[in-house]
Amino acid sequence: MRPDEFDVIIIGGGITGAGTQRDCAMRGLRTLLVERSDIATGATGRNHGLLHSGARYAVNDPESAAECIKENMILRQIAAHCIDESDGLFITLPEDDLGYQQTFVEACLKAGIHAEIIDPDLAKRWEPAVNPDLIGAVKVPDCSVDPFRLCAANMLDAKLHGGQVRLHTDVVGVLKEGDTVTGIRTRNRGTGEERNYYAPVVVNAGGIWGQEIAEMAGVKIGMYPAKGALLIFAHRVNNMVINRCRKASNADILVPGDTVCIIGTTSSRIPLEECRNVAVTPDEVTLLITEGIKLAPRLSSTRILRAYAGVRPLVSADNDPSGRNISRGIVCLDHETRDGVKGLITITGGKLTSYRLMAEIATDLVCQKLNVNKACETAVKPLPGSEEKSYEAVARKIWETPSTAQKAAASRMGTSASRIRTGNRLDEALICECEEVSKGEINAAIDRLEVSTLTDLRRRTRVGMGTCQGEFCACRAAGLLAKAHGCVDKERKDIADFLQERWKGNFPIGWGDTLREAEYTQWVYKHVLGI
């Protein structure tokens, strides 16, 4: 086979694309993944980081609910280092109808979700941050998941199975012979170089941008862009996921994740053109704060770190203006049977929680087209890093008496933490002090995880995600990147891009300590460092 020929090309480096590449690669296919930006830059990295138990969908969408609980249980096993088995609460507040709780629990049990009504006092003991006025509580097996880590681990495993990855590469055309797709034309964003890649099957996993990819192949898909805004708080206020026990609505889920917690979301339809640059409005911020405080009153005095928004890649069904009633179900389109275009598959819809199943469905179809008969193993084989469940055990195996920074590294990398170079104390230097990311961990990420910019590095290591928002670590990390890539000039612009990206999430909530930090950062970079 020529180096530009593959069995399957996957477009999109979100969790669906990365998961599909992993599955295809594990079934022995030669794979190429092309992503226009970095991994997890679309909806994958712009949600709550909630590994649904399915409870939220139990009443309205029992099919999705059943999918969720099944996948939830699988991912706890195969993606242990990406998941925090926090459990979740569905609380009823005095203004809610307590009668809904019964309907909710019955629907959960029917979908196979272990939902248990507990005493509100017990809920307060388990989760001291919960609104103390609650009149009802149900415990469900919700978890939190780090989508960046999950996506990176899928990409890494695909690579370990021979897959190739091209990040920061646009798809500028779909190659066709008659009614058959034969490959894609790409353009590297850094160098501008254009190249063709060929494969008998192309999988469109472009999320909300899948509509544009399909159009390049002459196929029409109607995406339904539904924007959701969220806020990150600077502290981990809650240890369990807190949901409102009522019909799904705005800003009624609070998810703990690593060192922070996240409230969301809103839901509003936006035009497709606006998807590339979704901004959070002041009204959305107000709504998120007001509703968030009802779940955990402590949020009213907690610093807000960032505001951000994502676009759910739902496929249009009916004319629902809010987008909440569209099924979150998985949509796998075989364009050969649907549109008469051979060699093209679109996989979309679904959720972060069901990405593995989406990948399995897409890969089954790829294999069917290629006449490959190999069973899916992604539900049983752990992702790289997840071979061991307890990160503390991982840390002890590597370092004997691990420091808190080393434990943090093990919690982020799982067993892959063994790849951090040991023996040289200089590698223990913390580059990001807020999130305790060491030089060794950064170099391990640069080695294996396709890092070209500081923002890429942030997604893989949490550098710059902490309370200082990159104030100090940005230029330290830039020094390491410059050394690894042998290019200093690019890094100066990279720092500016990184700070711009941080500011984008800061200014919608730019008051109090966030404004202080931003003023200081601007001062340091402009006047002290001269950038």
């Binding site: 200089l426 100090f472 200093v488 100066r492 941080r502 003023e519 200081y520 006047h527």
Partner: protein
């Protein structure tokens, strides 16, 4: 306790005002929370070029030599900026050529001094650069841990062994005509940077590091020492928590540690800085001054506070306490007779005063003048 003037805030503005008043024989007190913008000082005074003699004197009497000449200075990431009034540590060049062959010396494991960026920036200007690393542990024991490699920690060690460092640099020197070192010298003794310059047979340029700034902290310590020598009362690590204001006059302020001992004075000067130093506080609904509840010039519509471009000028930085042309403050629309605002709490409400350190110094001198005149 009674003073002629009480200054709230011990940063550059507060201490310059205090020094000028003490020099004129006044009895003043400064209440300082501890940290201020001097801890992040680049070594150059923004928006001051030709300095007024008065300011050169105040600094010289404190043991700080300043200089200015038209040209550029080397920034920490390898770029050049227009020269302004600077500490002696900062080298000023007529153009962005600091030498022909440049040796950049860093410490192993020190990530806050950007040697590779400096080299790249200088090479872009046509200079040849080499980067060499010294082990701090070879100069001074015990070695610093990997997470102690920060400017101030290094400075505390290096001042004692600066002569050893000079020897090490001399060994590294080949045909280089210029040596670039990090600004981590002279925390305990302001003469050390000059001694290093004299000990190395090449031009020595000190380039900035990530904060905290060693020359900045040294400047703060020397100004404070001089202020105390002149009889000023510097209340370090205390915070003004409230004020007694009767009609249009401030009677006294209350601090956290002095408890019921009010600080009374004829004049009060507010030098508490902008948002970062908590001179101004912002919340989703308003921006306010927390001690005296002074009137603040700002736009109540939060949507106008920001520019989406990080590097662009940010409108919130314009906001400051409202003052008249003599920097007298206002409260509920009326002037407060004996309360002045100086330094960055003014935001950009007085563009004629310049920005940053320049504004701090100019407003401090102006208000000190005003106070002295009113008593003459």
């Amino acid at each position: 306790m009674r003073f002629d003037t009480v200054i709230v805030g011990g940063g550059l503005a507060g201490i310059v005002a205090g020094l000028k008043l003490q020099k004129a024989g006044k009895n003043t007190a400064i209440v300082s929370t501890g940290q201020n913008a001097l801890h992040f000082f680049s070594g150059s005074f923004e928006s001051i070029q030709e300095p007024p003699k008065e300011i050169l004197d105040i600094f010289a009497e404190s043991g700080i030599r300043l200089h200015y000449s038209p040209g550029v200075r080397l920034m920490p990431m390898g770029t050049f900026a227009e020269s302004t009034l600077s500490l002696e540590d900062v080298s000023i060049f007529p153009d962005p050529k600091i030498g022909r062959r440049v040796l950049i010396v860093n410490f192993t494991g020190y990530h806050d001094f950007f040697s590779s960026f400096l080299a790249e920036g200088l090479e872009k200007q046509g200079m040849e650069c080499r980067i060499r690393f010294l082990n701090l542990g070879d100069l001074t024991q015990p070695d610093l841990g990997p997470n102690e490699m920060r400017a101030v920690q290094i400075a505390r060690r290096i001042d004692q062994v600066w002569d050893k460092l000079v020897q090490e640099v001399r060994v590294l020197l080949k045909d280089d005509d210029t040596v670039v070192l990090p600004q981590v010298f002279g925390l305990s003794d302001p003469a050390i940077p000059e001694r290093i310059r004299q000990g190395i047979p090449a031009r020595v340029v000190f380039a900035g590091t990530l904060p905290p700034s060693v020359p900045g902290i040294r400047t703060q310590m020397l100004l404070k020492r001089r202020y105390e020598v002149l009889g000023g009362t510097y209340l370090m690590g205390d915070r003004v928590t409230g004020a007694h204001v009767f009609e249009d006059t401030v009677h006294s302020v209350v601090t956290k540690h002095l408890d019921r001992h009010y600080l009374e004075a004829d004049h009060f000067v507010l030098a508490t800085g902008s948002f970062f130093s908590k001179g101004l506080i912002s919340n989703p609904f308003k921006i306010f001054e927390p001690i005296f509840e002074l009137d603040v010039d700002y736009d109540p519509d939060r949507n106008t506070w920001y520019n989406a471009g990080f590097q662009e000028h940010q409108p919130y930085m314009k906001f400051g306490v409202k003052t008249d042309s003599s920097l007298r403050t206002f409260r509920k629309g009326s002037p407060v007779k004996n309360l002045y605002a100086i330094g960055s709490i003014l935001g950009e409400t007085h563009p004629e005063l310049g920005t940053g350190a320049g504004m701090a110094i100019r407003s401090a001198l102006q208000v000190a003048d005003q106070i002295l005149k009113s008593e003459a």
